[in-house]
Amino acid sequence: MKLAENPFFVLAIAPDASRIEIEREAQKLLGMLELGFEAALTYATPLGPRPRTAEAVRAAVAVLRDPYQRLVAELWARHAPSTLEAAPAVTATPSAGLRRKLGWRP
């Protein structure tokens, strides 16, 4: 999971939010996005503001509904520093050759 996509950031709620609070905030945000509220269009992360979409909100709620996934998300959200220097976006998967070097089957 990428830090900037942490569901607690997407929904702008505290990591100890109750289940009801999560649902309530998500429903509010979806409504605001649907009607084009300026305030709902971005959310704050330690890596700077990110655009918020209805898909991201729905995905965030789905993650937080699953107890195990929520635990992982909480862990990341709690340990996140308040700001980070912009780290390079590393997303590429290494080639099969490297995987072999690292000792995995291709």
């Binding site: 649902e23 309530r24 009607l35 290494p94 000792g103 995995w104």
Partner: protein, 816 residues
Amino acid sequence: MAETPLYVGIDLGTTNSAAAVFDGERVSVVRNAQGATVTPSVVRIDKQGRVTVGTRARRFLEQDPSNTAGEFKRLMGTDKAIEFPAAGAKKKPEELSAEVLKALRQDITDQLGVTIDRAVISVPALFELPQSSATSEAARLAGFSRVELLQEPIASALAAGWRADEDATGTWLVFDLGGGTFDASLLETRDGLLRVVGHDGDNFLGGRDFDWAITEHLASLLPVVPSRSNVHHTAALRALRLAAEDAKIELSRGERAQVALAQPLVIDGQDVEVDLELTRATVERLCAPLVDRALEVCTRLLASNGLAPGRLARIVLVGGPTVMPFVRQRVAARLEAPLAEGHDPMTLVAQGAALYAATAGIDGRAVSAAPPSGRQVWLQYPAVSSDLTPHVVGKFVGPNDSGAPAKIKLVRSDGGWSSGEASVAPDGTFLTSVTLLPRRACTFQIEATGADGKRIEVSPPALTIVQGLTIGDPPLSRTLGVALASGHVQVYLERGAPLPARRTFTHHTVETVAKGSKDSVLRIPIVQGEMSAAHLCRLVGTLDIGGDAVKDTLPTGSPVEVTIELDRGGRLSARALVPTIEQVFEHVAHLLVPDAAPEALDSALRDLRRQLMDLRTDAFRHGLTQVIEKLDRIESRLSEAERDIDAAHGGDADAAQRARRALLDVDGTMAEADLARKWPELDAAARQAAITASSTVGFHGTDAERTLLQEVLAAMDKARKDKDGPELERQMRLAHRLSSAAFNRTPEAWEWYFDDAASEISRSRDLPKAQTLVKQGKAAVERGDTEELRRVVKALWQLLPDDSEARKRGFDSGVR
């Protein structure tokens, strides 16, 4: 909005269909003209072309079978047309389903006096995309302007959970044995939210198989035994089957039943009198293996969610066959959990669909064309909310002639509550919340006032929210992705992803698409399934970029941005954007469920048998008991498939589809068995992976990564202990991802990638270009320019080929 809402749910079943309506407080089942709550899904077209649906049509199944059709739901999504020779008509399965929907729609009008236009229709959880889109098409043909599809188990759980007490928290199992499909779903209710934890099922197990088991037993008692593979015996078998069905229902109450036909059957030119006796014990003996097959699915589902039997709070039984006492006893005993009482297993799904229509805010009535009076406001609020204090978000739009509203207040119509005044922002937006009454539908009047304190009329003048169980967004039942030229699948949407969902990835073309050339087509295959190898997934559609459509020639390696989108009901749309020529391709060729020709099935069966033999010899040689057990199960599935293929030769299209599915499943299981055979190799790889990941993450990882790796390592240990190959592979991928993330952060990572890619350039598609890139890369290494090096490596990866064998397995994918 002033009148009570009307939400409509329809259960379009294999053997029976039903409709229900929900008014915000009560759910009622719609009765048909005969006064029954269920309508048989049977359609008859007579000589004059008149269409009869339901009980009246079902009577003709025996008398006039060639002009009467049932069980067409199982053919949905295929292009198999059903013939009605008397009228000279040919109908597709969705057209017949449309007739059933029309009949139900008429029943609702007769009973409630309103024409409905929108509804929620339930579909089996394991329906594939072509089957779902055929269902939407049926609804369109029946005159619905908008429908949403809902998975049946969610519908049943919603209906069962709605009436349960508020403290009914815990895990539920919905055991839905329908006419043609079996679904098992695990659900959890907590804090008023219903969540699907997981589901499993058998798309081809149902009450129908019970009937066939009894029919075959009865047939074996006759002096001349009719066979399912003989086309001339079809009529006799059908008559026998209808008698078997009646006897089965009779035996739900009595101990024995008489199976006697008024007219003798004609088999091979001989008259055969049928006068047999059937006892409950016989039926139980015949059907027990089928129930056990369903129970096996349940135990598998419980195990995969780490739940021991006996930990279930309740089991909800759905579907006609679950009325049989021995089925109820067997299920309760085996799963060691109480059955939920007081639900009608025949209409529960329709009731749930109606409740769901409320949660999705789909009012059944046609939208009135009355012009709005007053200031128009767009509102966003949950139509059903488990939360007692949900938010209401709104925005004033339209002409501003009666002055801008400055304050807004919501007043509950029972007069017991009103919101404080919320202020409206200059752009017309406002945000407030309301307080609901438990388990009730609450209507709130919207009172807007201008800056001068004068009332402003608004449209709509009120809104209604029902307090009840909310349901999470429907989860995607099968992983969806794009097959790549390497034969692997790029996953777009994981199984369980909340719908609606949309995802975009950038791919690169593997060959040139020449402008104007009809023959050069770039294919983007869309597949569904849980396997990472494309050929083990189902191809559900293709997006083609043809040479005759492109504005300009697309060289190899051109980027293509593919977006896949699914709506709440699981309807698929896909789009490919080619940025270099600024063109969008969005015509998805939806595939039908492939036709299952008996000859093709024969040869597939032969292939699988041969593979099975190889695997078995190998397993015996190495004494792998676990693998042998797995192979035995495959063997019995193959024998079953063989029987179905026999019936397919006799012209039974449904049995053919079923055999096709079974063979596909066996293919997947075989791959797993193969994995088990390669266990030692996999085990060693896993150990190696654990060591490498520990050191990479240990040196370069963050704290959080280290914590996560600990969890992954624990999961790997567990998978190794359980000898669970697929799970181990999954965990290895996670470990690998963590260590790559850590590794990519190191300065030497990209140098390493570069060396690796550079060593393979002799295989590249464009050698001069690759050589230039290598030169640039070397310079970047010397300068220590990581940014540039990364660019070079990525460009090099684009030039390295995929092998053609792999590409074939990837459904001739033209992207990587």
